[in-house]
């Protein structure tokens, strides 16, 4: 985790610094949910969805915009030390914004196809890679349940090996580089505590009922093209 942070953080900030130097980064804003907060019940409660989207995600967006404003100021003043000091806040809040934006799209109520993986390229690749959808889920849940503290479980497409992988990240570290995120499951306590309390494995077991496989498949097709 430390090595990855050391590698990715400066790259992220360099990108923002360059954008800030060449006329500014546009403000980020909270994307709408494409379903009602209660639509994922009984698997994820309306209360969790409301707070998670309108409070937690909004806070990442707000703090990202504040950090970028400070970054633009630091770049404008050519203050390298101040640019560097903003690294962790940008990594955390940008990651928080990007990860949650993917997460909302990765979910859908059952009435809109949630939990239903249709036959097709992704289903074939998952079966080839993991034996079956069930063994993929078992493997994924094992790794996501074991994330220490706050973080995410991911299904990613590795562009180098051209294969699917299960990955985990700490805190709000985003998936970057040659790995493309297809499906992210938030395992911060705020994602499940009001309903599942300390029992993260039960949350992980239930969430597959509302995974938007259509969205995951589209991401897979785009990444593997």
């Amino acid at each position: 985790m430390l090595t990855r942070l050391a590698l990715t953080t400066p790259r992220l900030t360099r990108g923002f610094a360059a954008a800030a130097a060449t006329g500014g980064v546009s403000k980020f804003s909270l994307p709408d949910l494409s379903f009602a907060p209660g639509a994922l019940e009984p698997f994820i409660s309306a209360q969790i969805m409301e707070i998670h989207h309108a409070k937690h995600h909004q806070t990442y967006v707000n703090n990202l915009n504040i950090a970028i404003e400070k970054l633009e100021e630091a770049v404008h003043k050519k203050d390298a030390a101040a640019v560097l000091a903003l690294n962790s806040a940008i990594n955390f809040n940008y990651g928080g914004h990007v990860n949650h934006t993917i997460f909302w799209k990765n979910l859908a109520p059952q009435s809109q196809g949630g939990g239903d993986l249709q036959k097709g390229a992704l289903q074939a690749a998952l079966t080839k890679q993991f034996g079956s959808l069930d063994s993929f889920i078992t493997n994924f849940n094992g790794q996501a349940a074991a994330v220490q503290g706050s973080g995410w479980g991911w299904l990613v497409y590795n562009k180098t090996t051209k294969s699917l992988e299960i990955a985990t990240t700490s805190n709000q570290d985003p998936i970057l580089g040659h790995r493309v995120p297809l499906l992210g499951i938030d395992v911060w306590e705020h994602a499940y505590y009001l309903q599942y309390k300390n029992v993260r494995p039960d949350y992980l077991k239930n969430i597959w009922n509302v995974v938007n496989w259509k969205d995951v498949s589209e991401r897979y097709l785009a990444a593997s093209q």
Binding site: S88, F92, Q148, G149, S150, H190, Y193, L194, N198
Partner: protein, 219 residues
């Protein structure tokens, strides 16, 4: 020669000492004693499930480890990089939570402010009590993800300072400092009572600080 029952007692005692098990230290107050700042429901889960869960996990992982002759504090003091991750995490989380419960006291019966001696050291270390409070609150609120905010005493200068540690990581492996107080900033510490509002929980933490415990930890 020992009577039959004395022999049985001796055997049981021997069995206990050879099969090392760690136990969950009792809460120093009733589960509802921190309300309304921290609810009985939070303590029910935080102490009864999270803290207890770390002890259970430690016992199951330690069975096949040569670390089992060590105390929880001794395992934690080895640090996160010198012990298998599962054992370190569950030992350190057991230690950190025990220290956290002791860092708090029921608002009605606690000593409401630090003693003159501790207050003098706070002022010497941070400029003023308010500056200390602001700095500690900022570190606790600003910690990215799960972790702990600590007040520690530097063993060489004798001054107090504030540090934060990530996830399960403790401060006891850092031989240059001594822990004085701790605030748990994992979401489970405040989610039932305050939802996403970590700063509100930290405000409550200040209403519960056990200043006598803090002073008893000074070098």
């Amino acid at each position: 020669m020992l009577s039959k029952s004395a022999q049985a007692v001796k055997n049981a005692a021997h069995e206990n000492s050879s099969k090392m098990t760690y136990t969950l230290e009792a809460l120093p107050y009733a589960q509802d004693a921190l309300a309304p700042h921290i609810s009985a429901e939070t303590l029910d889960f935080h102490y009864g499930k999270h803290h207890a869960g770390y002890v259970t996990r430690l016992n199951s992982l330690i069975a096949s480890s040569d670390l089992k002759s060590l105390s929880i504090e001794e395992i934690t003091a080895k640090g996160p990089t010198n012990v298998p991750a599962g054992i370190y995490n569950s030992a350190a989380q057991t230690y950190n939570h025990t220290f956290y419960w002791k860092s708090l006291a029921p608002a009605a019966t606690r000593q409401a402010a630090p003693s003159q001696k501790l207050n003098d050291l706070i002022v010497k270390s941070f400029g003023s009590f308010d500056a200390f409070k602001t700095k500690f609150s900022d570190v606790a609120a600003g910690h990215f993800g799960s972790g702990w905010a600590w007040l520690v005493q530097d063993k060489s200068s004798g001054l107090l300072k504030i540090v934060d540690t990530h996830d399960a990581v403790s401060v006891v492996h850092d031989t240059t400092v001594k822990p004085i107080l701790v605030c748990d900033v994992w979401e489970h510490a405040y989610y039932i009572d305050y939802r996403n509002l970590r700063p509100k929980y930290i405000e409550s933490w200040w209403s519960l600080v056990n200043w006598q415990f803090a002073e008893s930890n000074l070098i």
